[in-house]
């Protein structure tokens, strides 16, 4: 590992100042489960590592049924699934945070880090997109809010500009009769990177039979996590049935742009998008209160 300067920042302002000064030569450290590995393996070289874990704001985790869920950029996974209220409200998010790495990794890894690392196969991002989450970003010129589906622009690259830092992720409050799910396919049962990941979220009308809103997002089938609005849009106003779910899965499949690599072939991935979208939608529908006949 090449030598670097370790800077434990205590305020957002301080972190922003360093990021503005160092640009690409600085990198924010929260859980470090990606960054440290990249530095050790020589895949990333930086002059400064800014530890944000001592900044109070980015460690905040708050949930209010009226306003939604606020996840500070340095909040590790275990705190999210460790909160019964959050787990009950956002089971689709919990699907993702509870399968990132293993238990030890989840003690450190953060959603903020998962987002900023911008891996096409990141587990939390399709779940966040499905839940209509947004990122609160701050720079020298103030705050801005970015929908998660627009946050990643390429493998390892995000919308963050020089001097900008991710403060938190916000997920809107849950509506009644709604539910989410995240499914990932891996060859083993643990400790793997997604061959394909699918996040799904649906809302039903009061009868629990007609879909009023739906969002589908895919992982590991494009250079960035992929929001497929047309897949969800096709479901709106329809009665829940195996056929409608299968149609949404087919639309998702058509949107995927997978490649062949060591984790799977393009053909396999395209096929899995269909299978996982269908399965994730069924779980989301069940969580939304749909009772199959």
């Amino acid at each position: 590992m090449q030598a670097f300067e370790y800077i434990p920042a205590t305020t957002v302002k301080e972190a922003i100042a360093i990021l503005a000064r160092e640009g690409e030569q600085a990198r924010v450290l929260s859980g470090g489960t990606d960054l440290i590995v990249q530095l050790r393996e020589g895949r990333r070289k930086v002059r400064a590592v800014i530890d944000i874990k001592q900044i109070p704001e980015v460690n905040e985790l708050s949930y209010d049924p009226a306003t939604g869920l606020q996840i500070g950029a340095a909040v590790p996974c275990y705190r999210i699934y460790g909160s019964p209220a959050i787990a009950a409200a956002y089971p689709g998010l919990i699907d993702a945070v509870s399968l990132i790495g293993g238990v030890q990794i989840q003690g450190r890894a953060t959603l903020g880090g998962n987002l900023c690392n911008s891996s096409p196969a990141a587990d939390s991002i399709p779940a966040l997109i499905a839940h209509q989450a947004s990122a609160l970003v701050m720079g020298e010129n103030g705050e801005r809010r970015i929908p998660i589906e627009e946050f990643c622009i390429a493998p390892g690259r995000t919308q963050l500009q020089r001097g900008e830092i991710l403060l938190s992720i916000h997920i809107p409050p849950v509506s009644p009769y709604s539910g989410g799910a995240y499914l990932r396919f891996i060859p083993r049962n643990e400790m793997d990177i997604a061959v394909v990941g699918v996040g799904a979220w649906v809302a039903l009308d009061q009868s629990g039979t007609t879909i009023t809103a739906a969002r589908i997002a895919l992982g590991a089938v494009a250079p960035t996590p992929l929001y497929v609005p047309e897949s969800g849009a096709g479901l709106i106003g329809k009665l829940v049935s195996s056929e409608t779910v299968a149609e949404a899965a087919t639309i998702a499949q058509a949107a995927a742009r997978p490649i062949t690599d060591m984790r799977g072939s393009a053909q396999q991935r395209s096929h899995l998008v269909g299978v996982l979208t269908r399965r994730a939608l069924h779980i989301a529908l069940k969580r939304a209160g749909y009772k199959s006949a």
Binding site: M1, P187, R188, N189, I193
Partner: protein, 774 residues
Amino acid sequence: METPVAEQAKATEVSVEERHYNIIGTRPIRHDGADKVTGKALYGADVRLNGMLYGKVLRSPHAHARILSIDVSRALALPGVKAVVTSADLATLDSVVSRVGEGAVNWRYLSNNILASDKVLYHGHAVAAVAATSLNAANEALNLIDVQYEPLPCVITAVQAMRPGAPILLQELRTNELGARGEIPTNIASHDQNMRGDLERGFAEAAVIVEREFTTGIVHQGYIEPHTATAVWGTDDQITIWTSTQGAHDARRQVAEVLQLPVSRIKVIPMEIGGGFGGKTVIYLEPVAALLSWKSGNRPVQVTMSRFEVFAGTGPTSSSVIKVKMGSASDGRITAAQVTMAYAAGAFPGSPVGGAMSVILNAYRMENVQIDGYDVVTNTPRVAAYRAPGGTNAAFASESVIDELACKLGIDPLEMRRINGAKEGDRRVDGPLIRRIGYLETVEKARASAHYQSPLPAPSTPGLKVGRGVASGWWGNWPGGTSSVSVIVNNDGTVNLIEGSTDIGGSRVAMAMQLAETLGLQAADIKPMVVDTDSVGYNDVTAGSRTTYSTGIAVHKAGLSIIQQMRERAAQLWDVESASVDYADGVISSKDNHIGFKELARKVGDGDGNVVASISISPNGDGVALATHIVDVEVDEETGKVQILRYTAVQDVGTAIHPAYVEGQIQGGAAQGIGWALNEEYVYDQQGRLLNGSLLDYSIPTALDLPMIEAVIVEVPNPTHPFGVRGVGEVPIVPPAGAVANAIANATGVRMTVLPMSPQHVLEALWTQGNERV
């Protein structure tokens, strides 16, 4: 009273069927257990010496390239760097083949594998090494070594390497074609053949014929502890090496050959070993560390591989392509079998195709058979032994075809194996007559098992498919080699057992138990220790499932010598003829006297001359091992994922010295075989670069991927060992891939012909064979 141990000494073969043992078959705590579980045990990388430097190895980024030049000047100028070595520091060795461990090695190739000379032959091939005062400086120095390469086209699989016009790895290589030397440069190192009977007639007699071609990927042993070596080249030119090895004496011999030094100049100190599975029978770092020590002014140098280096730079086992054609009469009798198999050796000749040619059909009586085997060099790491080398892929092919024949004939797959199974007096496909083996016993035990007798479980989720498969495995073991031990009776009545066989799987306790049984003592009375190469006679590697067998025979013989000496001491004490003194269960007695072992040891204490024995033996024995495995799987046909639901491994172990470690070997072998079956495989890009050289991307099963593996011990004692021991470590890895493939076929109707049976490969098979399902 009878003296069974003395009787055994008279005959080379004794009936041990009805023996009763006091110690053997019990489960005492292993002597090294407390240190292991408290973290006190010292492994190779734990060595810390004053002034120690850290070495790192520069490795080839190319799969195949000519080395045009190496400039180390900038690396040497970096502060902290004390030495750099390249192949220029090694003598060019003669191209001579010697036996090393279970296999053979060409010394020139061994040297060229340790540091590449004119060409690099695989991604990860060692090119140079540095020693520096810190690991960071050593790593930085690697970036400053300027190597100019001329990249060459590469071949990754045996099929690619055998094509006419394929890039040639070794210009001097000629095919050994059934004993005759070929004339043209080639990648095919050898072609061997086993045959008997009349194939044409055999296939004509068949009611059903199945013919399939199987391909398998490269897999690594996956031992947890990376290779490591620490060396001091003393100012007296004596070299001391601390390392992790399956055979300290073999490591010494290999270092001596590579450095062109007499063995007496080298002392190898074996540290505790964190797994080997055959992969630590070959040296990589030891001469490099020694040369770095010499060039850095005799400072100690430690070199430890990263996980990537272990994958890319050390020997995995062969990928292969295996064609099997087999015919069976309608009564299930196999009438003919023809096999053609090519194993990829990696950069230098020496794949385990010979072992594979034995494994593939030796469990069965074969009248009409022909097996052709090819050893082929490829631009991948030179293979090393891996647990029953070559066996898993071979049995995957043959056990799949036998299963398919049984299915087509409507015969129960275990009945099919009972009909054709080999037994004492049959002749092996590779020649020798079969002595007492317990193959049919494993088949019967498997058939009677609760697992086989139970119905298949219902799928965990509607739509998933469940299936059951069985497969058998044969492994010859290596009931030979040299083993040397020394035994010292302490004057408190305990006994030191000094051995040189690396303890990988609990062999210290297994040796102590065999000595305790011989002497009529408790295992805790024996103090076993594995010592350095200067302190015990020559020992061959712990490999080939030989240690509990061969070193066990040495231990038993040493015990008999101690018994004889104790009788003589007692005779002196009582002033009687030693012939009138008996020894049984640790009690020495004559007509009027008796005395316990410990008491006598105290009486004849140090002042009267120690009671000691040193034995070196080279048994030319026998100890074939056989196993039959049963597996239930659940297949998700939409994703191709296979879940192992239940696994039972039945094995003839001869006699289980310490049943817990026998079960551990069986479970470990099955677990590794399941990994090979399901997901393990080296993945290369078009340029021959290894893509998945990490434990994240090279998918060894985790605890969540395996059920409890039930080990069922069958004991058909081996008549060539005093306690009936057969080696147990290797054969359990032979059947799993075949068993899993047969279970997948049972679940889905699709025959898998590729390893690993990863989700991608299973999906592809379902897509292509979906219409022709059985």
